[in-house]
Amino acid sequence: MLDYIISKYNFWIYVVLMMIGLYAMIGKKNLIKKLIGMNIFQSAMILFYVSIGVKAGATVPILSGHGHGHVHEVIEVAKYLNPLPHVLMLTAIVVSIATTGVALATLILIYRRYNTLEEDEILKIRKDTGV
């Protein structure tokens, strides 16, 4: 059982991180903390993807010496990491940064309007002003 858990440790880490993020997004009252939770959540996702591309003892997928007389060397797939998930994550990182950017901009708007980033205080202000 322990072996099973340990052998899949990358998944466990990502799940734990994801849950931390999810908790912060839902449970925290401070909007900045929610945003940080969202970032943790997205990082967990990225770690998950990165880890599924990894193989033990493998190297970066760059074919050395290709085209210099070694053409006939057999390419063993197991020797190289799978680059695709990593490449995908480049896009996902960009997406997550963009999301963070939009969220921060929104937070600035909120702060300007209510002078606070605590969710319950904002709700109270909105209630008091009758909106």
């Binding site: 929610k34 996702m45 997406v95 904002i122």
Partner: protein
């Protein structure tokens, strides 16, 4: 030229959206004609694509010439060609309509608005056209991010609503991404057609089940399916009217499209129906969505908020059509994607016009609106009747097929929910019609109203607003009358052949 339509439909709005700031830098007023002109291109492209699909069958476009499954492929069949036309047509209409309301509501932010508007359209079109699961995620996020920003520039509570939407929307997108990751672990592919070939051997794998669960929840969040809709009412209601009339009809419909695509193309109906009991769950959730949306809508006095809750119920309609998992039900669902998009657009455009002219969204202040804005209110009435399922407007026909589907599936409660929803809609919309067309009932008002009765002058919405409204209202009738034609020439091929 024709074979490049699939690329142009994405590339043109994308590049043009980046050019909006350049154009707006010199002359702000040029943004509007630019956007309208640009949006004609996707419409032409999508019609070209639909025509190609209808004449030669499905085809695919390889981006950069890379062969699938390595390269990104735009796989086009009847279903997404059909949805592409809907998306591009409605976005053009909303763009035409947006001129005055943007000038009034967002006078300082015209340039960023139109930039984001085009980006949003790009995202929506991309979601629909792509045949690659990861690419879909990217477009989904392009659409969502522009959506977040567009909502945040709205009225008083908009930033809060937008922030909530960001948080929940990100969860949805990440869940979708996780689903893609699990599928990739199991199959090593991201291409939908490729996945569809590999998956049947793996249907009993737990990895696939997990992936499926993540997909379902992720898309349900994006599409605002009960009980994951909580972000939706505030976000759509506080958005500027030009924004909500674009996202309210389209975002939910595109999410419904993704659901159909994943459940019936990537996974086979055999899996989605027999191995996982997902449709029983989704169907019952939709029933709750219909009632909850309807009841919440009844409690609203703000017409836009009312429409937003009606939208929640309408999402339930489509999902019921998917959940009955038979040919006629799915026909109804796809038909309703179109019908509801048209009806919702029309209603939101009308609300935008009323807000522009009178500055109010409170239903009880709509007195004499029929005299002030006769054409707008006529369009509203036609669409409202369609929402109540009165033939020959299009709402009746989607309801007809959906009910056929529930009968075939033996789901009587679902059928009852659909019927009750028409009645709830009748109450909702006739309340508005009464306020707008008839004298107020309160004697306190009646006195004043009686005096001003003869002096109410026509004060119709500006031409740029009226044209799209009238076109959409005419569409409501025409799509109803020609629904048979649409089904026999397009939709019946869009329904997966395995039914």
């Amino acid at each position: 030229m024709a074979e490049q339509f699939a690329a142009l439909i994405i590339v043109v709005p994308l590049i043009s959206s980046l050019l909006v700031p350049v154009i707006g830098w010199g002359q702000k007023k040029l943004c509007y004609p630019w956007v309208v002109a640009v949006l004609v291109v996707p419409l032409i492209c999508s019609l070209g694509i639909l025509n190609t699909v209808l004449t030669t069958g499905k085809f695919s476009y390889r981006l950069g010439g890379w062969a699938p499954p390595w390269g990104i492929e735009y796989a086009i069949d009847h279903l997404n060609a059909f949805v592409l036309v809907i998306v591009s047509f409605i976005s053009l209409m909303v763009a035409i309509h947006s001129k005055k309301s943007v000038e009034k509501e967002l006078s300082e932010k015209t340039v960023p608005f139109y930039t984001l508007f085009l980006l949003l359209v790009t995202g929506l079109l991309g979601i629909v056209i792509t045949g690659d699961a990861f690419n879909l995620f990217v477009f989904l996020e392009i659409a969502s991010l522009s959506c977040y920003a567009l909502i945040a520039i709205g009225e008083e509570g908009a930033p809060i609503a937008a922030f909530n939407y960001i948080i929940i929307g990100t969860i949805g997108a990440c869940f979708y991404l996780l689903g893609v990751g699990y599928l990739y672990i199991a199959t090593g592919s991201l291409n939908m057609a490729d996945l569809a070939n590999i998956l049947p051997d793996l249907y009993h794998s737990k990895v696939i089940l997990v992936a499926f669960a993540f997909f379902t929840v992720g898309i349900a969040i994006k599409g605002g399916l009960f009980p994951l809709h909580t972000w939706l009412p505030d976000a759509y209601c506080t958005a500027p009217s030009a924004v909500s009339s674009l996202i309210a009809p389209l975002m939910t419909k595109v999410a419904a499209y993704v659901m159909i695509r994943l459940m019936f193309t990537v996974f086979q109906p055999h899996f989605s129906v027999e191995i996982v009991p997902v449709f029983a769950i989704l169907g019952w959730l939709s029933v709750f969505a219909i009632f909850w949306g309807g009841i919440k809508a009844l409690a609203q006095t703000d017409i836009k908020r009312m429409l937003v809750y009606v939208l929640v119920a309408e999402v339930g309609y489509i999902v019921i059509g998917v959940s009955v998992a038979n040919r006629v039900g799915l026909t109804g669902a796809i038909l309703h994607i179109m019908n509801d998009a048209v009806m919702m657009t029309c209603l939101f455009l009308v609300v935008g016009a009323i807000l522009y002219k009178t500055g109010t969204r409170e239903i009880h202040q709509f007195r004499h609106l029929n005299k002030k804005m006769p054409f707008t209110m006529a369009a509203f009435t036609i669409t409202a009747l369609s929402m109540c399922g009165i033939p020959p407007a299009c709402g009746f026909f989607s309801k007809w097929y959906l009910i056929q589907g529930t009968i075939e599936a033996g789901q009587w409660v679902w059928a009852a929910a659909l019927l009750c929803s028409s009645l709830i809609n009748a109450v909702l919309f006739f309340r508005v019609i009464e306020c707008a067309y008839l004298k107020p009932m309160e004697p306190a008002y009646a006195h004043n109203a009686g005096e001003t009765h003869g002096e109410i002058l026509r004060d119709e919405a500006p031409f740029t607003m009226l044209v799209p409204i009238v076109i959409m209202a005419a569409g409501v009738i025409f799509l109803g009358i020609f629904s048979g034609k649409i089904i026999s020439s397009v939709i019946q091929f869009a329904v997966p052949a395995s039914f």
